[in-house]
Symmetry: C2
Subunit: 395 residues, 2 copies
């Protein structure tokens, strides 16, 4: 399996250390899976300490041999309990700590109190905003992995006409579609950083299912197969002449591709065809308006204006009181990375940032829209999705 | 879709309120998805306040109509921001709060600080141990759902001989097997409460893949398809005459069934056949030793003793330095519920508790073992798994 190259790891650690210096932190204690993977290349059960200067120390509780084989971090040692962290890092010359950064956006209170006892007299500071910023800007290596994720998506989407038939349930189509992604290397859990948010593969909605909102903070919910997981494909039978909305992630080597395409058995009402063309228009206008340094709110403000002008005030990004307040989101090791493309967000979208743009409309008759994945380049957003954009009609 | 019955909801709320009285808490503010679903029957984006007495108030941020349709809680209201919680509950007569319980085992530090400002001058206490205890004891309604999950698993396991062929990859078999679970209603993300733990469907390991440890705290890891998700099925080709280990969850209506069965194309070495029989023997002895009120450590202590006597000291529940320290775990809305069946755990296993027992051995040649799901009854553990236990040989 592909290892994250040594130069990638060293560059990432160097970026973090630069911020540790700026923030006058003696080091960073990283515990969150996705961060440990990002900075080490391994996701064995471990704890990572990155000092302000010098080599990081990866302490592996379980899977030491795999950790050593998988990671280019030099100092990888065994640990039995996190209580040993201070003494282990001391043997690596890391002593006299007064203030360290950790991931307070995800660390539970009880665990924080536990680490407070281990690191007695040491002040913790939230390093997560800095980590999110570092992770938001992708290297060519990372962009290439996301490109591969979208290649897999393209293969799976191209098979939909052979999987889809009138009278099957949404969940049956979802099962077959997901299997196509999975056998090509869909790696597992779609990771999210926000509290309580989780996501399973993606969403198949047909016709009126599209109007169901969900816990998940996305424009289109879906009924899901049970009230315990009220989002995505449900038990509804797929009929002729209704929009079939397929919005999926592909997690490849940890990185997320995200794409939506529309299908239909038969034909769609003109209203929905027009809405789809308008969604593509809004996506294209948003892309045209973006350049390195654009504020993340600008494409959303433009899209809101266009959607309203086109008469979709109650339909854009959800139906009426269940609308969501963004046009896109960052993509990487987590589905909810920076930038958030949303009104009010002043983050600059710089070269190397990867993100999805997903203008969508929801009507009582169903959900319709498009989503592509992009990387910001010097010349503006480059589309990483390679699947044709037309609605696929199956006769 | 099936709603959680009104009596279930009322009984659960009453149990929580009894604990609020015991702990002298004015109420509980519940934010964690699985807890909100357990106590309300809906998982729309919401906040739940349960006062020490009187009706709970469910405040729905998104999906109000679905929340009202899905839940038997009487007071369900709209909310725009969690900042409104104190004023909303005040309009429901809930005032003069001094000490409230919340889920400090999962609530991130930053969110805790945010709620600390909203609930100025109010002390938070950790209600999660009580919630875990309540949730550990299942009603007949809940046990019946887990029974249905295991019925689905039985159907999927019975199809393995038709899916499996020599020369396919583990991930290909996993994709096909998962699709069989999914189309029968596998609901989505397999939920875990522990920090950083996540799980995707289950695990297909063939031959030497079985020795790979993983981040996940289970006896058998698997290589996974990438270093970002180093567990479960990988790219290894499935060969003749090696153990094919299939350990899967089935999430049905939110509840988890968990089961492991063994398959083989051709025949297995006598050593592995004997190990499998010994795993079944240990499982049976553990079951025989269990009765209502047994301490959760006892079956594990017995299993450790038997495994060592049988010569599996280095193989039981993982290989050498990657062994895990339990025999089983609770099953419910989360995969890591109580009871933890592990040495040192003095929890009493009482009637209604549901759990998996999974004696397994790991050798350089592969992983082998069995796992069934159980509910504790007055007469001891009742097996909820209905799949025959023999290794399935495919010629």
């Amino acid at each position: 399996m592909d290892k994250i190259p040594q130069l990638e790891i060293e560059t990432r650690i160097a970026k973090l250390q630069k911020i540790l210096v700026q923030q006058q932190l003696d080091g960073a204690l990283l515990l969150w899976n996705s961060d440990i993977f990002y900075f080490t290349g391994t996701k064995q059960n471990s704890y990572l300490f990155v000092p302000q200067s010098g080599d990081p120390v990866l302490m592996v509780k379980r899977g030491l041999d795999r950790g050593i084989a998988e990671s280019f971090v030099k100092d990888i040692v065994s640990i039995k309990s996190p209580k040993e962290i201070p003494s282990i890092i001391a043997t690596h010359g890391i002593t006299n700590l007064t203030k360290i950064g950790t991931e307070l956006d995800v660390m539970p209170v009880n665990l924080y109190n536990f680490y407070g006892k281990i690191f007695d007299q040491i002040e913790f500071s939230d390093i997560s905003p800095a980590i999110k910023q570092i992770r938001a800007v992708k290297s060519a290596y990372e962009v290439n992995i996301i490109r591969q994720a979208l290649k897999i998506m393209d293969e799976a989407f191209s098979l939909v006409p052979s999987l889809l038939r009138e009278g099957m349930t949404e969940i049956e189509l979802a099962a077959l579609f997901e299997a196509e992604l999975r056998k090509r290397g869909y790696a597992g859990v779609c990771k999210m950083r926000a509290f309580n948010q989780s996501f399973f593969y993606g969403n198949v909605c047909s016709g009126k299912s599209g109007i169901s909102p969900s816990f998940f903070d996305g424009p289109v919910g879906g009924t899901g197969v049970s009230l315990s997981d009220p989002q995505g494909a449900g038990w509804k039978i797929i009929n002729k002449n209704e929009p079939i909305y397929i919005d999926y992630t592909c997690i490849y080597q940890g990185y997320t591709g995200d794409q939506t395409r529309m299908f239909c058995i038969g034909d769609l009402p003109e209203k929905l065809k027009k809405a789809y063309n308008d969604a593509v228009f809004i996506k294209n206008e948003a892309v045209k308006s973006m350049h390195p340094g654009v504020l993340a709110e600008e494409p959303h403000i433009l899209a809101l204006k266009l959607a309203e002008e086109l008469g979709y005030k109650d339909n854009f990004m959800g139906y009426k009181n269940n609308q969501v307040k963004f046009l896109g989101h960052g993509l990487g090791l987590e589905l909810d990375e920076l930038p958030i493309v949303a009104k009010g967000i002043k983050t600059k979208i710089v070269t190397g940032m990867t993100f999805a743009l997903e203008p969508k409309f929801v009507f009582p008759e169903g959900a319709i829209g498009i989503e592509n994945s992009f990387v910001m380049t010097e010349n503006g957003p480059e589309c990483l999705s390679i699947t044709a954009e037309d609605i696929i009609y199956i006769k």
